[in-house]
């Protein structure tokens, strides 16, 4: 087993990041997807992750949501280890109980929405609060309706997902994730499966979250214009590493690395 002695049991101090990847490695067999990833995200920061397909961008979010196990290193959320737990004075891989405790801080929206098809929009939003957080139905309903209002879906609250367009489903999915009151929100290519004309309705919702909430957000996207508009920081992934990162103005305006330049010019040509 990996020696975890170099990893602290808790990150402390004034500038403790909300999310911290430390030497995180992920591979499928011999294929290395992420290679010693170090990434800190401060509270309230919006970080966009861009890069060619296969560069490991989505894996970053999936590991943070604990949908994938990591093969090395450690991920911290709000100062506490997520992928590991303290035991006998050291850190050992987290069990399900620890994961459930720590995962409560994180919410995620998926490329294909993944709404529960047998529930209405409102029921989708109430499901987690009622059955996982254990709050009363009345309170969960109020909160869910507020959030559906926020994403502009209150008039469709009693519809099943099969009766909603992609953009509408994605907005409900955002409300569903927010209903769990996460500290960190993950957006995994949330506009990639949408028709071009409805992308705006989803990006506008996310834009609103940046303005109004003190949420920490990580977003994998192919929409460079959107990333440029709303991000505090943009990370360009290449070959399982962060090739370059910086403010949107720096990264899009004056990319330093050749691979970043190539990627950005290829993307611009495509548009």
């Amino acid at each position: 087993m990996e020696d975890m002695s170099g990893y602290p049991h808790e990150l402390t101090g004034e500038n403790t990041p909300m999310v911290s990847f430390k030497n995180v490695r992920k591979s499928y067999g011999s294929l290395v997807v992420l290679d010693d990833l170090d990434l800190d995200v401060t509270t309230g920061e919006m970080v966009s992750i861009i890069g060619p397909s296969g560069s490991g961008k989505t894996t970053v979010l999936r590991m943070l949501m604990t949908l994938e196990k990591i093969n090395g290193g450690c991920i911290y959320v709000d100062g506490k280890p997520l992928t590991h737990m303290p035991k006998n004075g050291g850190l050992v891989p987290a069990n399900e109980r620890h994961l459930r405790e720590r995962r409560a801080d994180i919410g995620m929206c998926f490329q294909h929405f993944n709404l529960f098809p047998h529930m209405t929009a409102l029921e989708n939003c109430m499901e987690g609060p009622v059955h996982v957080l254990g709050i009363s139905k009345a309170e969960a309903r109020d909160r869910s309706e507020e959030l559906l209002e926020l994403v502009g879906m209150i008039n469709k609250k009693d519809e099943h997902p099969s009766r909603l367009s992609g953009g509408q489903q994605q907005r409900v999915a955002i409300a569903r994730a927010l209903a769990m009151r996460p500290k960190v929100m993950l957006f995994d290519e949330v506009t990639s499966a949408l028709d071009p004309e409805v992308i705006g309705e989803v990006t506008n919702v996310i834009r609103g979250l940046v303005d109004e909430h003190n949420l920490t957000m990580l977003m994998v996207t192919h929409q460079m214009g959107f990333a440029r508009d709303i991000s505090d920081r943009v990370c360009f992934f290449y070959g399982g590493k962060i090739e370059e990162q910086g403010s949107p103005a720096e990264l899009f305006g004056n990319p330093q690395r050749e691979r970043t330049q190539q990627f950005l010019s290829a993307v611009r040509e495509a548009v």
């Binding site: 949501m65 604990t66 949908l67 399900e96 459930r100 995962r103 409560a104 994180i106 919410g107 995620m108 998926f110 294909h112 993944n114 709404l115 529960f116 098809p117 047998h118 529930m119 209405t120 499901e127 987690g128 059955h131 996982v132 099943h160 997902p161 099969s162 009766r163 569903r176 994730a177 769990m180």
Partner: protein, 222 residues
């Protein structure tokens, strides 16, 4: 040669109707066992515990590859040697429930496999426990494609209840046979039994289809 006796037929009908009740109880109880146990067997095969998965898988294969009649005999006649002394009814319910649970577990398995991985991931993102995922998210969706197969086996278990006659459960065939032996007339009792089976099986198939559509609508999947 062909001398159908209406009077005799009317006379024995009440006994056959009582036996129909027994047949329906046997089918219903056996099916209830199979529904629950089948789900347990299906989910057991999806756990990460290799040993458990292997044992359950082989058990299902074993039961599916041996005759129901043998299993009925085994529980009833061999059971007592292992201290398992059960009435014909109890033995019959266990044997037929066990037998059909293995078939139903395969139907469930297909249904469970048909639920997209994204549904599991969304449930994880909502921080659900494994039990909550199954109960709230996965099983409601898995049941829908499984309904047709579940319905087929309901009719199947109903038609297999006559096997219980071999250990003395007073279901339809057993009763018809008894009537025949008492009166030396078999045409009427067995014909009536055939008609009773037909009269129940045929509408049941239609009802099952209706129920399937009802569930689909109720879950908003149509």
């Amino acid at each position: 040669m062909f001398d159908w006796n209406w009077e005799f037929a009317w006379e024995i009908l009440p006994r056959l109707i009582v036996a129909t009740g027994n047949t329906l109880i046997a089918a219903g109880a056996g099916y209830a066992i199979a529904l629950v146990l089948g789900l347990v067997l299906a989910i057991a095969q999806r756990t990460p515990y290799r040993g458990l998965t292997f044992v359950v898988r082989e058990f299902v294969e074993f039961i599916r590859s041996t005759p129901l009649l043998l299993q009925i005999f085994f529980v009833f006649y061999v059971g007592p040697q292992f201290g398992l002394r059960l009435s014909p009814w109890a033995s019959g319910m266990i044997a037929i429930g066990l037998h059909y649970s293995c078939y139903l577990s395969e139907v469930y398995r297909g249904g469970l496999d048909s639920v997209p991985r994204g549904q599991w991931e969304a449930a994880t993102a909502l921080n659900m426990t494994i039990a909550q995922k199954y109960r709230r998210i996965i099983i409601p969706q898995a049941i829908v494609p499984a309904l047709a197969g579940m319905g087929n086996y309901l009719v199947g278990i109903f038609k297999d209840t006559p096997m219980l006659s071999v250990i003395g459960v007073a279901e339809l065939i057993h009763t018809a046979n008894a009537i025949g032996s008492e009166h030396y007339r078999f045409l009427e009792p067995f014909t009536l039994v055939g008609l009773i089976f037909l009269a129940i099986s045929l509408p049941a198939a239609g009802l099952i289809r209706g129920f399937e559509n009802f569930i689909r609508r109720k879950l908003g999947l149509q």
